[in-house]
Protein backbone atom coordinates (compact mmCIF):
# COMPACT_ATOMS: atom_id res chain seq x y z
CA UNK A 1 0.00 0.00 0.00
CA UNK A 2 1.59 3.24 -1.15
CA UNK A 3 0.84 6.67 0.21
CA UNK A 4 -0.21 7.94 -3.20
CA UNK A 5 -2.73 5.09 -3.49
CA UNK A 6 -4.02 5.88 -0.05
CA UNK A 7 -4.37 9.59 -0.89
CA UNK A 8 -6.21 8.72 -4.07
CA UNK A 9 -8.55 6.56 -2.04
CA UNK A 10 -9.11 9.46 0.42
CA UNK A 11 -9.62 12.03 -2.32
CA UNK A 12 -13.32 12.76 -1.49
CA UNK A 13 -12.48 13.30 2.20
CA UNK A 14 -9.52 15.51 1.30
CA UNK A 15 -11.69 17.43 -1.15
CA UNK A 16 -14.31 17.91 1.51
CA UNK A 17 -11.65 19.11 3.96
CA UNK A 18 -10.37 21.54 1.34
CA UNK A 19 -13.91 22.77 0.72
CA UNK A 20 -14.38 23.24 4.49
CA UNK A 21 -11.12 25.18 4.69
CA UNK A 22 -12.08 27.51 1.85
CA UNK A 23 -15.54 28.09 3.33
CA UNK A 24 -13.91 28.89 6.68
CA UNK A 25 -11.57 31.32 4.93
CA UNK A 26 -14.48 33.03 3.19
CA UNK A 27 -16.36 33.41 6.50
CA UNK A 28 -13.32 34.61 8.40
CA UNK A 29 -12.54 37.17 5.71
CA UNK A 30 -16.18 38.25 5.78
CA UNK A 31 -15.98 38.67 9.58
CA UNK A 32 -12.80 40.67 9.06
CA UNK A 33 -10.67 38.45 11.25
CA UNK A 34 -7.05 39.50 11.29
CA UNK A 35 -4.44 37.72 9.20
CA UNK A 36 -2.67 36.14 12.18
CA UNK A 37 -5.90 34.61 13.47
CA UNK A 38 -6.75 33.29 10.01
CA UNK A 39 -3.28 31.85 9.70
CA UNK A 40 -3.41 30.15 13.11
CA UNK A 41 -6.83 28.60 12.52
CA UNK A 42 -5.82 27.37 9.04
CA UNK A 43 -2.57 25.97 10.41
CA UNK A 44 -4.33 24.03 13.18
CA UNK A 45 -7.02 22.85 10.75
CA UNK A 46 -4.53 21.60 8.16
CA UNK A 47 -2.27 20.09 10.82
CA UNK A 48 -5.10 18.11 12.37
CA UNK A 49 -6.20 17.01 8.91
CA UNK A 50 -2.68 15.84 8.10
CA UNK A 51 -2.26 14.03 11.41
CA UNK A 52 -5.54 12.22 10.96
CA UNK A 53 -4.57 11.18 7.41
CA UNK A 54 -1.10 9.98 8.39
CA UNK A 55 -2.31 8.12 11.45
CA UNK A 56 -4.97 6.41 9.40
CA UNK A 57 -2.47 5.61 6.67
CA UNK A 58 0.06 4.05 9.00
CA UNK A 59 -2.34 1.89 10.96
CA UNK A 60 -3.83 0.57 7.74
CA UNK A 61 -0.46 0.11 6.19
CA UNK A 62 0.80 -1.90 9.16
CA UNK A 63 -2.15 -4.27 8.85
CA UNK A 64 -2.12 -4.74 5.08
CA UNK A 65 1.64 -5.03 4.68
CA UNK A 66 1.67 -7.74 7.34
CA UNK A 67 -1.26 -9.46 5.65
CA UNK A 68 0.44 -9.48 2.27
CA UNK A 69 3.72 -10.72 3.72
CA UNK A 70 1.98 -13.53 5.54
CA UNK A 71 0.13 -14.43 2.39
CA UNK A 72 3.39 -14.58 0.49
CA UNK A 73 5.03 -16.82 3.03
CA UNK A 74 2.16 -19.29 3.25
CA UNK A 75 2.30 -22.25 0.92
CA UNK A 76 -1.33 -23.05 1.65
CA UNK A 77 -2.91 -19.63 1.00
CA UNK A 78 -6.27 -20.59 2.44
CA UNK A 79 -4.75 -20.68 5.91
CA UNK A 80 -4.41 -16.87 5.91
CA UNK A 81 -7.53 -16.45 8.04
CA UNK A 82 -5.70 -18.27 10.86
CA UNK A 83 -2.81 -15.82 10.63
CA UNK A 84 -4.44 -12.38 10.62
CA UNK A 85 -4.97 -10.45 13.81
CA UNK A 86 -8.07 -8.29 13.53
CA UNK A 87 -7.04 -4.59 13.47
CA UNK A 88 -9.00 -1.82 15.25
CA UNK A 89 -10.40 -0.21 12.10
CA UNK A 90 -13.70 -1.38 10.78
CA UNK A 91 -12.86 -2.49 7.22
CA UNK A 92 -10.02 -4.63 8.53
CA UNK A 93 -12.30 -6.30 11.03
CA UNK A 94 -14.89 -6.91 8.34
CA UNK A 95 -12.23 -8.38 6.10
CA UNK A 96 -11.13 -10.74 8.88
CA UNK A 97 -14.70 -11.77 9.47
CA UNK A 98 -15.21 -12.51 5.77
CA UNK A 99 -11.95 -14.46 5.59
CA UNK A 100 -12.85 -16.50 8.66
CA UNK A 101 -16.28 -17.36 7.39
CA UNK A 102 -15.25 -18.28 3.86
CA UNK A 103 -12.34 -20.36 5.02
CA UNK A 104 -14.39 -22.27 7.57
CA UNK A 105 -17.04 -22.95 4.93
CA UNK A 106 -14.30 -24.11 2.55
CA UNK A 107 -12.75 -26.33 5.22
CA UNK A 108 -16.12 -27.90 5.77
CA UNK A 109 -16.45 -28.65 2.08
CA UNK A 110 -12.93 -30.04 1.81
CA UNK A 111 -13.44 -32.20 4.88
CA UNK A 112 -16.63 -33.59 3.41
CA UNK A 113 -14.86 -34.56 0.19
CA UNK A 114 -11.94 -35.95 2.10
CA UNK A 115 -14.27 -38.13 4.14
CA UNK A 116 -15.98 -39.26 0.97
CA UNK A 117 -12.69 -40.21 -0.68
CA UNK A 118 -11.48 -41.96 2.45
CA UNK A 119 -14.74 -43.90 2.68
CA UNK A 120 -14.51 -44.86 -0.95
CA UNK A 121 -10.90 -45.92 -0.58
CA UNK A 122 -11.75 -47.96 2.48
CA UNK A 123 -14.52 -49.65 0.55
CA UNK A 124 -12.18 -50.42 -2.36
CA UNK A 125 -9.66 -51.97 0.00
CA UNK A 126 -12.38 -54.04 1.60
CA UNK A 127 -13.71 -55.05 -1.79
CA UNK A 128 -10.26 -56.11 -2.93
CA UNK A 129 -9.91 -58.34 0.12
CA UNK A 130 -13.37 -59.76 -0.47
CA UNK A 131 -12.86 -60.53 -4.12
CA UNK A 132 -9.59 -62.25 -3.36
CA UNK A 133 -11.46 -64.96 -1.46
CA UNK A 134 -13.40 -66.41 -4.40
CA UNK A 135 -10.28 -65.92 -6.51
CA UNK A 136 -8.24 -67.99 -4.06
CA UNK A 137 -11.01 -70.58 -4.06
CA UNK A 138 -10.97 -70.74 -7.84
CA UNK A 139 -7.20 -71.07 -7.97
CA UNK A 140 -7.35 -74.03 -5.61
CA UNK A 141 -10.15 -75.62 -7.62
CA UNK A 142 -8.36 -75.25 -10.93
CA UNK A 143 -5.20 -76.64 -9.39
CA UNK A 144 -7.03 -79.64 -7.99
CA UNK A 145 -9.00 -80.49 -11.11
CA UNK A 146 -7.23 -82.37 -13.91
CA UNK A 147 -8.19 -79.97 -16.72
CA UNK A 148 -7.96 -76.84 -14.61
CA UNK A 149 -4.64 -75.70 -15.98
CA UNK A 150 -6.18 -73.87 -18.89
CA UNK A 151 -7.94 -71.44 -16.54
CA UNK A 152 -4.96 -70.56 -14.43
CA UNK A 153 -3.49 -67.96 -16.80
CA UNK A 154 -6.76 -66.04 -16.85
CA UNK A 155 -6.99 -66.22 -13.06
CA UNK A 156 -3.48 -64.80 -12.88
CA UNK A 157 -4.60 -61.89 -15.02
CA UNK A 158 -7.59 -61.30 -12.78
CA UNK A 159 -5.31 -61.26 -9.78
CA UNK A 160 -3.01 -58.77 -11.44
CA UNK A 161 -5.81 -56.37 -12.32
CA UNK A 162 -7.18 -56.56 -8.81
CA UNK A 163 -3.77 -55.72 -7.40
CA UNK A 164 -3.60 -52.74 -9.74
CA UNK A 165 -6.75 -51.32 -8.17
CA UNK A 166 -5.37 -51.83 -4.69
CA UNK A 167 -2.06 -50.16 -5.39
CA UNK A 168 -3.65 -47.37 -7.36
CA UNK A 169 -5.78 -46.42 -4.37
CA UNK A 170 -2.69 -46.65 -2.21
CA UNK A 171 -0.30 -44.73 -4.41
CA UNK A 172 -1.49 -41.19 -3.89
CA UNK A 173 -3.02 -41.30 -0.51
CA UNK A 174 -1.91 -39.52 2.57
CA UNK A 175 -2.41 -42.47 4.88
CA UNK A 176 0.63 -44.48 5.76
CA UNK A 177 0.03 -48.06 4.83
CA UNK A 178 3.54 -49.05 4.10
CA UNK A 179 6.29 -50.17 6.38
CA UNK A 180 9.92 -49.52 5.62
CA UNK A 181 12.43 -52.07 6.76
CA UNK A 182 15.49 -53.82 5.34
CA UNK A 183 14.37 -55.97 2.44
CA UNK A 184 16.49 -58.53 0.65
CA UNK A 185 16.42 -57.77 -3.08
CA UNK A 186 17.11 -61.42 -3.78
CA UNK A 187 14.06 -62.53 -1.82
CA UNK A 188 11.80 -59.87 -3.31
CA UNK A 189 12.85 -60.69 -6.84
CA UNK A 190 12.56 -64.43 -6.35
CA UNK A 191 9.03 -64.02 -4.93
CA UNK A 192 8.06 -61.97 -7.96
CA UNK A 193 9.66 -64.41 -10.37
CA UNK A 194 7.94 -67.34 -8.69
CA UNK A 195 4.59 -65.59 -8.95
CA UNK A 196 5.03 -64.94 -12.67
CA UNK A 197 6.78 -68.20 -13.50
CA UNK A 198 3.95 -69.58 -15.61
CA UNK A 199 3.77 -66.54 -17.87
CA UNK A 200 7.53 -66.18 -18.17
CA UNK A 201 7.89 -69.79 -19.23
CA UNK A 202 4.99 -69.67 -21.65
CA UNK A 203 6.72 -66.79 -23.39
CA UNK A 204 10.08 -68.53 -23.25
CA UNK A 205 11.66 -65.63 -21.40
CA UNK A 206 15.04 -66.20 -19.77
CA UNK A 207 15.56 -64.64 -16.41
CA UNK A 208 18.88 -63.82 -14.87
CA UNK A 209 19.70 -62.07 -11.64
CA UNK A 210 23.08 -60.86 -10.51
CA UNK A 211 24.36 -59.05 -7.49
CA UNK A 212 21.08 -59.07 -5.63
CA UNK A 213 22.77 -60.09 -2.36
CA UNK A 214 21.98 -56.77 -0.81
CA UNK A 215 19.30 -55.24 1.32
CA UNK A 216 17.52 -51.96 0.73
CA UNK A 217 15.16 -49.95 2.90
CA UNK A 218 11.70 -50.33 1.43
CA UNK A 219 8.33 -51.99 1.80
CA UNK A 220 8.69 -55.51 0.45
CA UNK A 221 5.06 -55.87 -0.65
CA UNK A 222 5.18 -52.66 -2.65
CA UNK A 223 8.53 -53.56 -4.14
CA UNK A 224 7.25 -56.97 -5.20
CA UNK A 225 4.24 -55.35 -6.79
CA UNK A 226 6.46 -52.93 -8.70
CA UNK A 227 8.74 -55.72 -9.89
CA UNK A 228 5.66 -57.67 -10.97
CA UNK A 229 4.48 -54.68 -13.00
CA UNK A 230 7.87 -54.32 -14.66
CA UNK A 231 7.88 -58.02 -15.46
CA UNK A 232 4.40 -57.68 -16.93
CA UNK A 233 5.61 -54.80 -19.10
CA UNK A 234 8.60 -56.77 -20.34
CA UNK A 235 6.30 -59.64 -21.28
CA UNK A 236 3.97 -57.27 -23.10
CA UNK A 237 6.67 -55.70 -25.23
CA UNK A 238 8.75 -58.69 -26.32
CA UNK A 239 10.43 -58.67 -29.70
CA UNK A 240 9.23 -61.75 -31.56
CA UNK A 241 12.51 -62.14 -33.47
CA UNK A 242 14.71 -62.67 -30.41
CA UNK A 243 14.49 -64.80 -27.28
CA UNK A 244 13.14 -62.69 -24.48
CA UNK A 245 15.62 -61.93 -21.74
CA UNK A 246 15.14 -60.13 -18.46
CA UNK A 247 18.26 -59.22 -16.55
CA UNK A 248 18.16 -57.81 -13.08
CA UNK A 249 21.26 -56.41 -11.43
CA UNK A 250 22.35 -53.77 -8.98
CA UNK A 251 24.81 -50.91 -9.17
CA UNK A 252 26.11 -49.06 -6.15
CA UNK A 253 26.68 -45.33 -6.12
CA UNK A 254 27.81 -43.21 -3.18
CA UNK A 255 24.32 -42.32 -2.16
CA UNK A 256 22.14 -45.07 -3.54
CA UNK A 257 21.71 -48.69 -4.48
CA UNK A 258 20.34 -48.84 -7.98
CA UNK A 259 18.27 -51.76 -9.12
CA UNK A 260 18.32 -52.23 -12.89
CA UNK A 261 15.45 -54.09 -14.49
CA UNK A 262 16.49 -54.61 -18.07
CA UNK A 263 14.83 -56.47 -20.91
CA UNK A 264 15.71 -56.91 -24.57
CA UNK A 265 12.21 -56.07 -25.75
CA UNK A 266 11.08 -53.56 -28.32
CA UNK A 267 12.31 -50.55 -26.34
CA UNK A 268 10.77 -47.12 -26.06
CA UNK A 269 10.97 -44.45 -28.81
CA UNK A 270 13.22 -41.60 -27.71
CA UNK A 271 10.38 -39.13 -28.16
CA UNK A 272 8.17 -41.04 -25.70
CA UNK A 273 10.86 -41.68 -23.12
CA UNK A 274 10.45 -38.48 -21.07
CA UNK A 275 6.73 -39.05 -20.67
CA UNK A 276 6.39 -42.76 -19.90
CA UNK A 277 5.83 -42.14 -16.18
CA UNK A 278 2.98 -39.69 -16.84
CA UNK A 279 -0.52 -40.71 -15.92
CA UNK A 280 -2.49 -42.23 -18.81
CA UNK A 281 0.41 -41.85 -21.25
CA UNK A 282 0.39 -44.72 -23.73
CA UNK A 283 2.73 -43.61 -26.51
CA UNK A 284 3.68 -45.44 -29.65
CA UNK A 285 4.13 -48.84 -28.01
CA UNK A 286 0.70 -48.53 -26.41
CA UNK A 287 -0.82 -48.13 -29.86
CA UNK A 288 1.17 -50.73 -31.75
CA UNK A 289 1.35 -53.43 -29.05
CA UNK A 290 -1.05 -54.85 -26.53
CA UNK A 291 -3.55 -52.30 -25.24
CA UNK A 292 -2.00 -50.11 -22.62
CA UNK A 293 -3.75 -48.09 -19.94
CA UNK A 294 -0.78 -45.88 -19.22
CA UNK A 295 -1.19 -46.54 -15.52
CA UNK A 296 1.48 -49.14 -14.70
CA UNK A 297 4.54 -46.91 -14.77
CA UNK A 298 2.58 -44.01 -13.29
CA UNK A 299 1.69 -46.14 -10.28
CA UNK A 300 5.30 -47.29 -9.99
CA UNK A 301 6.49 -43.70 -10.03
CA UNK A 302 3.97 -42.66 -7.38
CA UNK A 303 4.81 -45.60 -5.15
CA UNK A 304 8.51 -44.84 -5.51
CA UNK A 305 7.94 -41.20 -4.62
CA UNK A 306 6.00 -42.16 -1.52
CA UNK A 307 8.69 -44.61 -0.44
CA UNK A 308 11.41 -42.04 -1.09
CA UNK A 309 12.96 -43.87 -4.06
CA UNK A 310 13.52 -42.49 -7.50
CA UNK A 311 12.83 -44.24 -10.76
CA UNK A 312 14.08 -43.53 -14.26
CA UNK A 313 14.24 -45.27 -17.59
CA UNK A 314 16.86 -45.78 -20.26
CA UNK A 315 16.02 -47.31 -23.58
CA UNK A 316 17.02 -47.71 -27.18
CA UNK A 317 14.17 -48.54 -29.49
CA UNK A 318 14.49 -52.01 -30.90
CA UNK A 319 17.22 -52.95 -28.42
CA UNK A 320 16.43 -52.73 -24.75
CA UNK A 321 14.58 -51.03 -21.93
CA UNK A 322 16.19 -50.50 -18.56
CA UNK A 323 14.10 -49.28 -15.65
CA UNK A 324 16.22 -48.16 -12.74
CA UNK A 325 14.90 -47.84 -9.24
CA UNK A 326 17.29 -46.20 -6.88
CA UNK A 327 17.05 -46.78 -3.15
CA UNK A 328 18.69 -44.10 -1.06
CA UNK A 329 21.36 -45.18 1.35
CA UNK A 330 21.40 -43.73 4.80
CA UNK A 331 22.73 -44.36 8.24
CA UNK A 332 19.38 -45.74 9.33
CA UNK A 333 19.89 -48.76 7.12
CA UNK A 334 23.27 -49.46 8.67
CA UNK A 335 21.85 -49.14 12.16
CA UNK A 336 19.00 -51.51 11.43
CA UNK A 337 21.17 -54.06 9.67
CA UNK A 338 23.70 -53.97 12.49
CA UNK A 339 20.95 -54.60 14.99
CA UNK A 340 19.81 -57.55 12.93
CA UNK A 341 23.23 -59.07 13.07
Amino acid sequence: MRFSEFLKDKLPAIGLGGAGLSMMLVFMLAFKANTQQIFAVCFIYVLIGMVILLWDFFRRRRFYVRLMEDLDRLDQKYLISEMVEPPEFIEGRLLCEVLAQTSSAMCGQVAAYRRETADFREYIELWVHEIKLPLAGMQLMTHNSPDGKKYSAELKRLEEYIDNVLYYTRCDNAEKDYLIKPVSLKRAFSNTALKNRGLLQQNGVCLSAEGLDTTVMTDSKWLEYMLGQLMGNSLKYLRPEVTGEITVFTAETDTATELHFRDNGCGIPAADLPRIFDKSFTGENGRTHAASTGMGLYIIKSLCTRLGHTVRAESVQGEYTDIIISFGKNEMKDIVSQEEK
Partner: protein
Protein backbone atom coordinates in the same frame (compact mmCIF):
# COMPACT_ATOMS: atom_id res chain seq x y z
CA UNK B 1 2.13 -88.43 7.73
CA UNK B 2 1.93 -84.84 8.91
CA UNK B 3 -1.38 -83.53 10.14
CA UNK B 4 -2.31 -80.02 9.07
CA UNK B 5 -5.04 -78.05 10.77
CA UNK B 6 -6.92 -75.65 8.52
CA UNK B 7 -8.61 -72.72 10.27
CA UNK B 8 -10.62 -71.12 7.48
CA UNK B 9 -14.17 -69.82 7.24
CA UNK B 10 -14.63 -69.61 3.46
CA UNK B 11 -16.15 -72.94 2.50
CA UNK B 12 -14.84 -72.96 -1.09
CA UNK B 13 -11.29 -72.28 0.04
CA UNK B 14 -11.61 -74.81 2.85
CA UNK B 15 -12.71 -77.50 0.41
CA UNK B 16 -9.97 -76.54 -2.03
CA UNK B 17 -7.29 -76.59 0.65
CA UNK B 18 -8.46 -79.93 2.02
CA UNK B 19 -8.29 -81.44 -1.49
CA UNK B 20 -4.91 -79.87 -2.17
CA UNK B 21 -3.34 -81.03 1.07
CA UNK B 22 -4.72 -84.54 1.04
CA UNK B 23 -3.61 -84.80 -2.59
CA UNK B 24 -0.12 -83.86 -1.47
CA UNK B 25 -0.13 -86.58 1.15
CA UNK B 26 -1.06 -84.67 4.27
CA UNK B 27 -3.72 -85.52 6.79
CA UNK B 28 -6.10 -82.60 7.38
CA UNK B 29 -8.24 -81.42 10.27
CA UNK B 30 -10.72 -78.55 10.25
CA UNK B 31 -12.60 -76.39 12.72
CA UNK B 32 -15.93 -77.63 13.90
CA UNK B 33 -17.72 -74.34 14.54
CA UNK B 34 -15.77 -71.27 15.50
CA UNK B 35 -16.27 -71.39 19.26
CA UNK B 36 -13.19 -72.36 21.25
CA UNK B 37 -11.01 -72.38 18.19
CA UNK B 38 -7.71 -72.45 20.13
CA UNK B 39 -8.83 -75.42 22.23
CA UNK B 40 -10.03 -77.28 19.12
CA UNK B 41 -6.72 -76.70 17.38
CA UNK B 42 -4.64 -77.80 20.35
CA UNK B 43 -6.82 -80.87 20.87
CA UNK B 44 -6.18 -81.99 17.30
CA UNK B 45 -2.41 -81.98 17.98
CA UNK B 46 -1.51 -80.89 14.43
CA UNK B 47 2.00 -80.68 13.02
CA UNK B 48 1.16 -77.38 11.37
CA UNK B 49 -1.69 -74.87 11.36
CA UNK B 50 -2.88 -72.91 8.35
CA UNK B 51 -4.65 -69.92 9.83
CA UNK B 52 -6.88 -67.36 8.20
CA UNK B 53 -6.80 -63.96 9.92
CA UNK B 54 -10.42 -62.94 9.42
CA UNK B 55 -12.39 -65.60 11.24
CA UNK B 56 -15.71 -65.20 13.02
CA UNK B 57 -15.89 -65.10 16.85
CA UNK B 58 -12.15 -64.77 17.35
CA UNK B 59 -9.72 -63.57 14.72
CA UNK B 60 -6.66 -65.50 13.64
CA UNK B 61 -4.23 -63.26 15.45
CA UNK B 62 -6.02 -63.75 18.76
CA UNK B 63 -6.22 -67.50 18.21
CA UNK B 64 -2.51 -67.51 17.45
CA UNK B 65 -1.70 -65.70 20.68
CA UNK B 66 -3.84 -68.13 22.64
CA UNK B 67 -2.12 -71.11 21.03
CA UNK B 68 1.33 -69.68 21.66
CA UNK B 69 0.64 -69.64 25.41
CA UNK B 70 0.87 -73.40 25.51
CA UNK B 71 2.25 -74.67 22.23
CA UNK B 72 4.91 -73.92 19.67
CA UNK B 73 3.21 -75.71 16.78
CA UNK B 74 4.25 -74.08 13.49
CA UNK B 75 1.62 -71.67 12.18
CA UNK B 76 1.34 -70.23 8.67
CA UNK B 77 -0.97 -67.23 8.40
CA UNK B 78 -2.97 -67.23 5.20
CA UNK B 79 -4.86 -64.07 4.50
CA UNK B 80 -6.25 -61.77 1.86
CA UNK B 81 -4.78 -58.79 3.69
CA UNK B 82 -1.52 -58.19 2.02
CA UNK B 83 0.22 -55.29 3.68
CA UNK B 84 3.64 -55.43 5.25
CA UNK B 85 2.16 -54.24 8.55
CA UNK B 86 -0.17 -57.24 8.73
CA UNK B 87 2.72 -59.55 8.02
CA UNK B 88 5.03 -58.02 10.62
CA UNK B 89 2.23 -58.08 13.18
CA UNK B 90 1.48 -61.75 12.53
CA UNK B 91 5.12 -62.69 12.75
CA UNK B 92 5.41 -60.79 16.02
CA UNK B 93 2.55 -62.85 17.43
CA UNK B 94 4.57 -65.94 16.67
CA UNK B 95 3.53 -67.00 13.17
CA UNK B 96 6.21 -68.88 11.22
CA UNK B 97 5.28 -67.74 7.76
CA UNK B 98 2.78 -65.51 6.06
CA UNK B 99 1.14 -66.24 2.72
CA UNK B 100 -1.29 -63.85 1.09
CA UNK B 101 -4.37 -64.92 -0.83
CA UNK B 102 -4.75 -65.62 -3.63
CA UNK B 103 -1.76 -67.90 -3.68
CA UNK B 104 -0.26 -70.27 -6.16
CA UNK B 105 -1.10 -73.70 -4.66
CA UNK B 106 2.33 -75.05 -5.60
CA UNK B 107 4.00 -72.23 -3.72
CA UNK B 108 1.79 -72.81 -0.71
CA UNK B 109 2.82 -76.47 -0.64
CA UNK B 110 6.45 -75.44 -0.89
CA UNK B 111 6.09 -73.08 2.08
CA UNK B 112 4.31 -75.76 4.11
CA UNK B 113 7.02 -78.30 3.49
CA UNK B 114 9.73 -75.72 4.25
CA UNK B 115 8.15 -74.85 7.61
CA UNK B 116 7.63 -78.51 8.48
CA UNK B 117 11.27 -79.21 7.70
CA UNK B 118 12.46 -76.25 9.71
CA UNK B 119 10.68 -77.69 12.74
CA UNK B 120 11.82 -81.20 11.84
CA UNK B 121 8.22 -82.25 11.96
CA UNK B 122 9.17 -84.39 9.00
CA UNK B 123 12.31 -86.46 9.04
CA UNK B 124 14.63 -85.02 6.44
CA UNK B 125 15.75 -87.99 4.45
CA UNK B 126 19.47 -88.09 3.95
CA UNK B 127 20.08 -91.54 2.57
CA UNK B 128 19.09 -93.09 -0.71
CA UNK B 129 19.76 -96.73 -1.51
CA UNK B 130 22.56 -96.76 1.02
CA UNK B 131 24.09 -93.53 -0.29
CA UNK B 132 24.57 -90.61 2.05
CA UNK B 133 23.33 -87.27 0.89
CA UNK B 134 25.48 -84.35 1.95
CA UNK B 135 23.59 -81.15 1.15
CA UNK B 136 26.34 -78.85 2.40
CA UNK B 137 28.94 -80.47 0.13
CA UNK B 138 26.44 -80.96 -2.67
CA UNK B 139 27.33 -84.60 -3.03
CA UNK B 140 26.27 -88.22 -2.65
CA UNK B 141 28.69 -90.74 -1.24
CA UNK B 142 28.82 -94.48 -0.67
CA UNK B 143 31.48 -94.19 2.00
CA UNK B 144 34.47 -94.43 -0.31
CA UNK B 145 33.69 -92.43 -3.44
CA UNK B 146 31.79 -89.21 -3.84
CA UNK B 147 29.40 -88.15 -6.57
CA UNK B 148 29.36 -84.39 -6.96
CA UNK B 149 26.08 -82.80 -8.06
CA UNK B 150 25.57 -79.27 -9.35
CA UNK B 151 23.32 -76.94 -7.35
CA UNK B 152 20.38 -77.54 -9.67
CA UNK B 153 20.82 -81.30 -9.69
CA UNK B 154 21.02 -81.24 -5.91
CA UNK B 155 17.83 -79.22 -5.61
CA UNK B 156 16.00 -81.58 -7.95
CA UNK B 157 17.29 -84.66 -6.15
CA UNK B 158 16.30 -83.17 -2.79
CA UNK B 159 12.68 -82.65 -3.92
CA UNK B 160 12.48 -86.12 -5.45
CA UNK B 161 13.97 -87.72 -2.36
CA UNK B 162 11.55 -85.94 -0.01
CA UNK B 163 8.70 -87.42 -1.98
CA UNK B 164 10.32 -90.73 -2.80
CA UNK B 165 7.83 -93.13 -4.33
CA UNK B 166 5.42 -90.32 -5.26
CA UNK B 167 5.04 -88.48 -8.51
CA UNK B 168 6.64 -85.05 -8.54
CA UNK B 169 5.34 -82.71 -11.24
CA UNK B 170 7.60 -80.54 -13.35
CA UNK B 171 5.72 -77.61 -11.84
CA UNK B 172 6.83 -78.57 -8.35
CA UNK B 173 10.43 -78.98 -9.46
CA UNK B 174 10.37 -75.63 -11.21
CA UNK B 175 8.85 -73.92 -8.20
CA UNK B 176 11.50 -75.36 -5.92
CA UNK B 177 14.30 -74.29 -8.28
CA UNK B 178 12.95 -70.79 -8.79
CA UNK B 179 12.44 -70.42 -5.06
CA UNK B 180 16.19 -70.96 -4.78
CA UNK B 181 16.95 -68.23 -7.30
CA UNK B 182 17.68 -70.70 -10.09
CA UNK B 183 15.55 -69.27 -12.88
CA UNK B 184 15.92 -72.09 -15.37
CA UNK B 185 13.54 -72.79 -18.24
CA UNK B 186 11.76 -75.92 -19.41
CA UNK B 187 14.58 -77.17 -21.60
CA UNK B 188 17.16 -76.64 -18.91
CA UNK B 189 15.06 -78.65 -16.49
CA UNK B 190 14.91 -81.55 -18.93
CA UNK B 191 18.67 -81.33 -19.43
CA UNK B 192 19.31 -81.20 -15.69
CA UNK B 193 17.14 -84.21 -15.03
CA UNK B 194 18.75 -86.31 -17.73
CA UNK B 195 22.21 -85.35 -16.44
CA UNK B 196 21.20 -86.26 -12.91
CA UNK B 197 19.86 -89.54 -14.23
CA UNK B 198 23.13 -90.29 -16.05
CA UNK B 199 25.17 -89.47 -12.95
CA UNK B 200 23.03 -91.75 -10.77
CA UNK B 201 23.20 -94.49 -13.41
CA UNK B 202 26.97 -94.30 -13.37
CA UNK B 203 26.98 -94.46 -9.59
CA UNK B 204 25.18 -97.75 -9.42
CA UNK B 205 21.61 -96.48 -9.17
CA UNK B 206 20.17 -97.69 -12.46
CA UNK B 207 16.67 -96.49 -13.27
CA UNK B 208 16.46 -94.36 -10.15
CA UNK B 209 14.34 -91.66 -11.75
CA UNK B 210 11.41 -92.73 -13.84
CA UNK B 211 9.42 -90.44 -16.13
CA UNK B 212 5.65 -90.65 -15.92
CA UNK B 213 4.29 -89.27 -19.12
CA UNK B 214 2.33 -86.01 -18.72
CA UNK B 215 2.57 -86.32 -14.95
CA UNK B 216 6.11 -85.89 -13.85
CA UNK B 217 8.96 -87.84 -12.32
CA UNK B 218 9.24 -90.41 -9.60
CA UNK B 219 12.25 -91.50 -7.60
CA UNK B 220 12.16 -95.22 -6.99
Amino acid sequence: MSRIFIAEDDSAILAGLTDLLSGAGYETAVLNGFENAPAQILAARPDLVLMDITLPVMNGEMILREIRKSSDVPVIMVTSRSSETDEVLSLSYGADDYVSKPYDPTILLLRISAVLKRYSRVEEKSTYRGLNLNTARGSLSDGSTELVLTKNEMLIFRVLLDKQGQIVTRDELMTALWDNEEYINDNALTVNISRLRQKLDGFGCKGAIETRKKQGYILL
